[in-house]
Symmetry: C2
Subunit: 288 residues, 2 copies
Amino acid sequence: VSRRVLVTGAGGFIGRHAVAALRERGFEVLAAGRADGDLLSPGAPERLIAERRPTHLLHLAWNTEHGRFWSASDNLAWAQASLALYRAFVESGGERAVFAGTCAEYDWSQGICREDATPLRPATLYGAAKHAVQSAVSAHAAEHGPPAAWGRVFFLYGPDEHPNRLVPAVIRGLLAGERVAVTHGRQVRDFMHVADVGGAFAALVDSEVTGAVNVAGGEPVTLREIVSTLAARLGREDLIGFGERAAPAGDPAVLLADVTRLREHVGVQPRYSLEDGLDETIAWWRDR
Amino acid sequence: VSRRVLVTGAGGFIGRHAVAALRERGFEVLAAGRADGDLLSPGAPERLIAERRPTHLLHLAWNTEHGRFWSASDNLAWAQASLALYRAFVESGGERAVFAGTCAEYDWSQGICREDATPLRPATLYGAAKHAVQSAVSAHAAEHGPPAAWGRVFFLYGPDEHPNRLVPAVIRGLLAGERVAVTHGRQVRDFMHVADVGGAFAALVDSEVTGAVNVAGGEPVTLREIVSTLAARLGREDLIGFGERAAPAGDPAVLLADVTRLREHVGVQPRYSLEDGLDETIAWWRDR
């Protein structure tokens, strides 16, 4: 029996890796990206499902515009379109749906986020809109099926990330020989290579796990460690200015994921070490 | 300047009272009920806003079918339609929106529910779908406006309630001289007369308060007290069988509302005492 998975946001940062990993797992991938039209236009989600008739759904598409997505007005439209897409999928007889959620759904004062224990208290419009979809979809799936899982993405990095995000910004600055101003760097985070994130979503589609699952590497790292590693690899520790930039308001000291569900229930182990992942990312920017 | 409020669910249990109270406050009421078409059909919310051009929105409509609404599949469609309605209202230049939420959004293990402190952990599809709308709408309103408030309804009663709900069922049984089997009755709840609930929503529309507001009377009462009062008024204490019916699974011992926001910020005081409200409800059923 053919398993046909519709992937929205298939051309995105995570989507490209998820598509490759789903193909490796034997899925027929129905990729939907920006070229397939705007998912936010009225009736578009319903038409997409009617035309592609997927057995599985991996919904990654959302506004991810760097620096703007946190408070963009269209987060509301994305929530509405996501509910429309899921409803059309359910009504078409779809078998299993997986969505991209976010660590921004959690109360960030809690340190280590656990799917079934940490309060959900999004502090941003993006987090609230994602959480809205999770609340409605998870409850509907639990009551009526088909099964659905919700992968909460933490921090990620890798080749071809938006140039203004932390890792690319540091690499680009150092390659250009410019001084790089960063925050104090003591923030403890969980960074996962984007290929591992895409692989985790493919595994989640291919599993029977339902509900929320943190998608993260499970290895705490400080931002200082990441920046220092990049600087050491490029031999330009002299250019880094820790503390020369203010940390954003509300920036939590520790924001980590409990990855028990991902590791033990979904069976995902990251393939990249942080060192290998950063080396690969440096190499990618060198080749630009 | 004319204030034109679109009321969805205007013909419903709460809606009829909200409409009357809004007219008393000088609003022009654009009532939308079932006769105006199905809000769940594609494009219907957008058409409703385009045709009526309200300055204010009071969105009460939802699936409220007794015994079925908690887990009905169309809770998802109602969440989607509610987001669509709000987006259309925002885009049309609407000034203020108020929504009907539910105590079922809260974690029911907490006893007294406070808007800004009690965790939101809906245990039902209905609660999760309502909460989905609240999460997205409140965050959007806080970030971009127009202002929005979210009235969380607790327990209510009054004339013309669905005949199978607690108060009407007891009255009807006693009036018919039948034995009435009820649960142990020690559950502590907050019951507000439906006219006071409608009045509270009108006051919320007419206020500048934003975010979640509990809509409740603030007076704890046991179910035993309510049932005993009805039996005493009807002189048929002999027909009541406390404990002859099992309480539903997960029925919380105490489920109350902190009404500080409603009382002090919105300025609402209930007009009905429980005794007067129950007497009026008995009289209504006698006249059937």
